[in-house]
Symmetry: C2
Subunit: 307 residues, 2 copies
């Protein structure tokens, strides 16, 4: 059978010619961060020079990350500590997206938000005036499985946000499950569903997809996803930068989040092989997500361009 | 559309007549435990007298539980502490099933088994001469997300067993994920996929389905399930008791595990409403698993029989 996806043109290896073409036809580059800009806390070679070249050519730069452990403020700090100047307004993290989702949907300020996740989500919620519960604070809490002992949860929780949480435990899983199951109308929001992420430079670790699946497993419900490949964040991006999506290029290392996000939004797409996706994974017959271009790393944009 | 399931006869409320019929046509009763025999550590009313009546009529009693937190030895102890005499041989727990699965499939004794779960799994593994790792011991371990810091795992782990684990944490999730992803041929075994369980008398808690889903989320793989509704345990049961499955009755509180298990194995089925399933859940149009009989609790078998 040949459906639309199977008929897609195979991805082209980025060449001096296509880089020139891409730079002429695109006004903004959207970058994923983990596996594209850095791995863990280590910058990927040649990134600062490449970003500088793109800025010098008047391109808008935007950083769209599914990693919810940091807030936009913290991401800006991380960029600075790595010697790259990026403003908070250029960063669209899934932690920010979770807060924006609640804002856009007029989530009542008197209701609370239970968080399986880290500081980034709590900080973004607070910046929007929402009351977050859980997160790192509940990381050391234990449950008591004893007769006549009721695990209490806050009935005013109206949304549960689940993201990557290195302090995941049974207490949080029960808390989130009770809110979703017993609080009428309680929203279940996932920052993203990435299976794994480069939490350190040397290896991959379970991603938000692990914690989200756990909550799906206990609640038997499916979440609203606000991070990639959902295009929820794109609306904010468009308002901010006023560029048509066909003149944007999404640069990422994952097919099922970055490239799919770019395609869903109508952007040009460039896969880099510096992160999760390998060339054999890209070319595997089971893969149906084909970027327009692929290359080994972001700095190829600079190197292929020539002097 | 009318498929086979939709054409199934609606379940009958247990009556004095059908109890008499059932007792005549069945030689063994298979009981689920949580929500049927007890809730948490509290016995459900009338259970001891009912089991005594069944034994006095020469019926074999078997206890088939998906709860993997205890070994068969511990289950026998729990029965005794609640005033019911049950031998280890009458108990088929999913912890035992996990060990039996490895035994039946000639799992090499020199390989190790990583456990997300509690003592029950480790004890059953040890009884069969397998080397278990993880479990409660890893419940307090933390991860170090630092540059140049590699999370090491044992390359001789050939199977990961995942069951209910109240000490679930990120360390265990990363350990299990690395074994399944990086150790060639590593098995991924789930004791069961129950979404929730009555870990205490007063409420439900995330079940093994929560931890199993988490590992599915990070590995993007599906497990082999050894507990209900898989009929893996039935082979052992048949060898032990030499009764044809059509002369067995599975008594349980869950449609998607107990009743489905009974049906998959060719047993008669009786749903009790003393646990997870409510009458409205049973009669909901979205439910396609129909037991032969249903009643409020196990002791109805005794009460409806009359003097």
């Amino acid at each position: 059978m040949n459906d639309g996806e199977d008929c897609a043109a195979p991805p082209q290896l980025l060449s001096p010619h296509s880089v020139t073409d891409l730079l002429h036809s695109v006004d903004a580059f959207l970058f994923d961060c983990d596996g594209v800009i850095w791995k863990g806390d280590k910058l990927i070679d040649g990134v600062p020079q490449t970003l500088q070249m793109l800025r010098s050519k008047g391109k808008k730069l935007v950083f769209v990350t599914n990693n919810s452990t940091k807030s936009r403020r913290h991401y800006a700090k991380k960029f600075h500590s790595l010697g790259i100047s990026v403003s908070e307004e250029e960063i669209f993290s899934s932690s920010f997206a979770a807060a924006m989702f609640l804002k856009v949907h007029d989530f009542p300020r008197e209701k609370k938000v239970y968080v399986i996740g880290e500081e980034g989500i709590l900080e973004e919620l607070e910046l929007e005036g929402f009351t977050g519960l859980g997160g790192p604070e509940d990381g050391k809490k234990m449950v008591q499985l004893k007769p006549n002992c009721l695990f209490e949860h806050d009935k005013s929780v109206g949304a549960v946000v689940v993201g990557l949480d290195q302090y995941i435990n049974y207490y949080k899983l029960q808390y989130a499950t009770l809110c979703i199951r017993e609080n009428p109308g309680c929203l279940f929001i996932a920052t993203n569903r990435d299976a794994v992420g480069h939490m350190t430079d040397l290896q991959e670790w379970p991603g938000a997809g692990c914690m989200v699946a756990a909550v799906c497993g206990s609640t038997q419900k499916e979440p609203i996803v606000v991070g990639k490949p959902s295009t929820f964040m794109m609306d904010f991006l468009l308002k901010k930068f006023q560029i048509t999506t066909s003149r944007m290029c999404m640069v990422g290392d994952r097919l099922d989040t970055d490239i799919l996000f770019g395609q869903n939004a109508g952007c040009r797409t460039l896969l880099v092989l510096s992160g999760v996706t390998t060339q054999s994974g890209l070319q595997d017959p089971s893969n149906h997500i084909q970027p327009e271009y692929y290359t080994s790393k972001v700095s190829d944009l600079l190197n292929l361009l020539g002097p």
